[in-house]
Every structure is written in structure tokens, then in C-alpha cells.
């Protein structure tokens, strides 16, 4: 197992290298220069200053030289300085955004698992009934609903018309004066809608996946054998079928990481949450090259880690597979 894992991690290196290559070239081959923003905003700029700025950002050097220099810095997690007026370190900017996005995504992943497994099993064990058809149709509805529209409708209903929930931000204005219990509820109130929006599509997609796996597993011979032995149906479903049906779901969980991160751009910008998605949106609007590159590399790195964790989970869950 150790051997398999180390080989698996070594195989990640060329992929990671490819990720940096693609990120760097995409952004550099695009027209317009990162200095444009500063130049446009400043009326007192002269050609000499532009030249100095270009030198400062190494724009006067050929692209491969810049790439190698950028890669060297990357090895020490140094993505350079942001081009926005605050001029802060890109890594610092991203670092303070990561916890919120990961927390929201972990919570919604947890919710997705909790709801989609029983739902998927229900659908699979009730095939052909009206209740199953209704559930399947509903899951199609929720699978197809655009998250940004759902967010807006929820804000409209619960925030604007009913006034039950805050519509944006992470904390209330008087957050500082609250006790720790109140602080928790304040955060929860602000995060309820974003987490709901982040989970709904996932629940629909996952429950469909669980039910189709369950359909396959229930046809296996060991289930027939278990039935022949007279084991109660409830035990068969729970112990024999469910465990086997859930193994492939682990892989899909790992593969869903980039989708979840992509989704955070939408709900973080609608609900004004200071996470990675919002930072990407802001950086894109400001043409902040170093931050965008840093975000692309870090999020794809998170995806790689997600896939690795899924592999490890798969290994633990399925003793039939021997890794060498």
C-alpha cells in the first residue's frame, strides 16, 4: 500500500507541471498587459514609467524566461504580488480566503452524503412506484436548476419578502458585540442559504448515482445467495448491498471537488462571502494576473489532493482490490 501510494504521488508530478504550464501560457498569450490597468487609471503616466513598470513585472523578457522564473518562485509558494492597488502578496491573499470556501464545501459535501444515500436507496428499492417516479422527477428538477437562479429566488423569498434571513455577507454589523453562542447562530444564519444552494444540485446528482449503483449491486449473485439463506431483506439492503453500492461513490466524491470549487464562484459572489470564489471573480474583474494564476494552480492542486484522498478511501473501503 505504501508503495502504491508513493507511486501514485510521483505520478502526480507531471500532472502538476502540466497544470502550471497551461495556467501560465493561457494567461500570458492573452492580449492586454497587466500594467494596462495601472496605466489606464493614472493620468500622469509617462512612457518611461510604463517601461519601468514592465521591467518590474519582467514583461520585457521572453515568455519562457518568465515561466521558469515564475516556476522557481512557485516552488516556495511565492506567486508574486497582486496587481490591485493594495499590492499584497498573492499567497497571503489566497490563504485568508481558503478556510471559508473549504468549510462551506465540506459542510455541503457532508449534507449531500447524508441526504443522497437514503434517497438513492429509496429510489432503487421502490422502482416503478409512483413515489419513486415523483422522487426521480424531483431530483431531475433540482439537478437542472441553475444555482444562481435558485440563490436569487431564495434571497427574494427568505430575505426580501419574509425577512427571515440576511441576504449577504458572513457576519452581522454587530457581530463583535455578540456572545460566542450568538456569534455561532449569526454565522449559521448567514451561511444557511449559501450551503443550501451549494448542496441542492449535488444531492440530486449523487442520489441518482447511488440509485444506479444500487440497481447494479442488487442483481449480484451474493445478494441472491443472501436471500436464499433467508437473511431478512432489511439486513441485506443495509449490510450487503449498500456497502458495495457506496464504493464507487467515493471516486465520484473525489471527482466532484473541481465542480464544488467552481460553484463557489457563483454563490460567493451572489451572497458576498469573502472566499476563494469571490477573490477569483474580483481578480478577473481587475485583470490581476498573478492572483488568477495562483488561484488556478492552487485550486487544481486541491483537485489533485481530492482525487488522491478518494483513491485512499477506495483502498480502505474495498478489500478486494490489492494495491502493489
Amino acid at each position: 500500500m505504501f508503495y502504491y501510494l508513493s507511486r501514485r504521488i510521483i505520478a502526480m508530478i507531471p500532472v502538476l507541471f502540466g497544470i502550471t504550464l497551461i495556467s501560465f501560457f493561457i494567461i500570458n498569450l492573452a492580449p492586454g498587459e497587466p500594467t494596462d490597468m495601472q496605466v489606464e487609471l493614472n493620468p500622469r503616466i509617462t512612457p518611461e514609467i510604463i517601461e519601468k513598470l514592465r521591467k518590474h513585472y519582467d514583461l520585457d523578457k521572453p515568455i519562457h524566461v518568465r515561466y521558469i522564473k515564475w516556476l522557481k518562485n512557485l516552488a516556495t509558494l511565492d506567486f508574486g504580488k497582486s496587481l490591485t492597488p493594495d499590492g499584497r502578496n498573492v499567497m497571503d491573499k489566497i490563504k485568508e480566503r481558503i478556510p471559508l470556501t473549504i468549510t462551506i464545501n465540506l459542510i455541503s459535501m457532508f449534507i449531500i452524503i447524508i441526504f443522497s444515500i437514503p434517497l438513492g436507496v429509496f429510489v432503487s428499492t421502490h422502482r416503478g412506484t409512483i413515489r419513486e417516479r415523483l422522487t426521480t422527477m424531483l431530483s431531475f428538477f433540482f439537478y437542472s436548476i441553475p444555482s444562481f437562479w435558485l440563490a436569487i429566488v431564495l434571497i427574494m423569498v427568505f430575505g426580501v419578502y419574509l425577512g427571515w434571513l440576511p441576504v449577504s455577507g458572513l457576519k452581522s454589523l454587530h457581530y463583535g458585540s455578540l456572545s460566542s453562542v450568538q456569534k455561532f447562530f449569526d454565522l449559521a444564519k448567514h451561511l444557511l442559504l449559501p450551503i443550501l444552494v451549494a448542496s441542492v444540485g449535488g444531492i440530486a446528482a449523487f442520489s441518482r448515482y447511488v440509485s444506479s449503483n444500487f440497481d447494479d449491486v442488487i442483481k449480484q449473485e451474493y445478494i441472491l445467495l443472501a436471500r436464499a439463506k433467508g437473511i431478512p431483506e432489511r439486513v441485506i439492503l443495509k449490510k450487503h448491498a449498500l456497502k458495495n453500492a457506496l464504493i464507487p461513490v467515493i471516486t465520484i466524491l473525489g471527482l466532484s471537488v473541481p465542480g464544488l470549487i467552481s460553484g463557489s464562484v457563483i454563490f460567493e459572489s451572489i451572497f458576498a462571502l469573502p472566499g476563494m470564489g469571490q477573490l477569483l471573480y474580483q481578480s478577473v474583474m481587475a485583470r490581476d494576473y498573478p492572483t488568477i494564476m495562483g488561484m488556478l494552480v492552487i485550486t487544481s492542486f486541491l483537485t489533485l489532493i481530492g482525487n488522491l484522498l478518494a483513491d485512499i478511501g477506495y483502498m480502505i473501503a474495498d478489500p478486494r482490490i490489492k494495491y502493489r
Binding site: 493561457i26 492586454g32 436569487i152 470549487i261 460553484g263 489533485l304
Partner: protein, 281 residues
Amino acid sequence: MRETFFQQVLKRFNARKSSVISLFIIISLILLSFAGPIFLPYSPDEINVDAILLPPSTLHWFGTDALGRDVFTRIVYGGRISLLVGFVAEGIAVIIGLILGSISGYYGGKVDSVIMRFADIMLCFPTFFLILSVITFLEPNIWNIMIVIGLTGWMQIARLVRGEFLTLREREFVLYEKVLGSSNFYIIFKHILPNALNPVIVSAAFGIAGAILTESALSFLGLGVQPPIPSWGNILTSGKDMMEAAWWLSVFPGLFIFVSILCYNLVGEGLKEALNPKYYK
């Protein structure tokens, strides 16, 4: 009389009412957005100061926006863009996926590992992050949007086609063609590809739904189709800032995005059951 494969597929597809209805709705939406304007009394960008933010009525079915423009008319025109983008973007993805997947699966070896590694790398990027980063550096017009969505969506199809090719290339009819001295190009496109198309068709239906979603999300964030050209996404944006004053600006464009995505997904599901031998009864 024996049924042809096509007749069988049609029969199985027709058995799923939800998919048939969805196909009908998609066709109606396309007809509405391309032929509908002939019958509409309003123009999509005609500003009318006497009709600002009117709620839905018999005169303005979906109400009017902050500039007094008829929302129904704008949605009809927006449908052209949103539906076209979905179709063309997925078309680009399918073509790239078919070509790379065929080459990868047919030749195998080094070519295969290079192409598949490239697909792996592309799959590591959160797609929407990648699209957002690229789109900022281009002019946000619909052509660029279609190309970018297409260029970031081919990986799944390439993998599917490659998988089909890996098994098909070992089959006897391919061997016969090789013995006959047919060129690789001829074998790939004339003999193997038609046999590998079923999963691609299914994946493309879901892909169109995804592309419509991506375009409307981009336009919603202000990085897609630019006003005054209407698209479902950017009409929704104008509604976002006026939730209290005009609910109809948020509800209707979103409903159209939702319904078209739902219908493409249901058609995809119907095709999956109709084309996949796993479901043959």
C-alpha cells in the same frame, strides 16, 4: 417485419413520455426565439419611459424592465443567444473530443498516453475557474464564449470515444479493412467512429445543458453576453438588483434557463435508455 436499429431506438425513446415532452418543448423554444419576433409588437431594445417597471399584464406578459423594455420580447431574443451558444459550444467540444479520442484509442501507445495525460490535466482545473480566467482576456462576445466553453468541455467525450475505440479496433471488421489495405483515416472515420457514436450522442445532450448553464452563469456575472444584447443570464442580472421592486425580472429569465436545461437533461436521459444496450428489454 424486422425493425431497423433506428426504429427500435425511436420506439424506446417514445416510451419515455417525459423525454418526448422535453424534446417538444426544446423545439418550441427554438421556434419561439427564431420565428417569434415576427409576431411581437415590441422591439427588444426600445426604451419606453412611460412603461418603466410595469408588472406582468396582458399588454406586457412578463412585465417591463427599468428602461421600459418588454421583458417577454427580451427573453425571446435572448433565447436565440442562449440556445445557440449551448448548441455551438457543445458542437465544438464534441468535434475536439471525437478527433482526440479516436486518435488516442486507435493508435494507442505514446500518442494515447500524451493525449490522455493532457485530458487528465485539463480535468484538474475547476472548469468554471478556467473559463472565467480565459474569458477576461478576450472580448466577451458570443463567439469567444462558445469557443472557450467548447475548448474546456471536450475531455469527457474524448475519454468515451477512446474507450469505444479500444474495444472496436480489435474487432474483425477492422482487421479485414487493414488486410484490404485501407488507410487508417478511412478505417477510423468510415468504420469505427459510426460504431462509437452512441455514448457521444448521450453525452452531447447533457453537454448542451451544461453549456447553456455556463453561458448564462457567465452572462449573469457580467462576463458573458454584454448588454444591450439580451441573454437570459444578463436579464437575470438586471433583476438581481431590483428584487424588491420587480420580481418578474428575476423569475422569468431564470425559469427559461431552468426549463431548457431540464429539457436537454431529460432528452439526454431518454437517449441514454434508448441507445444503451444495458436498458434493452
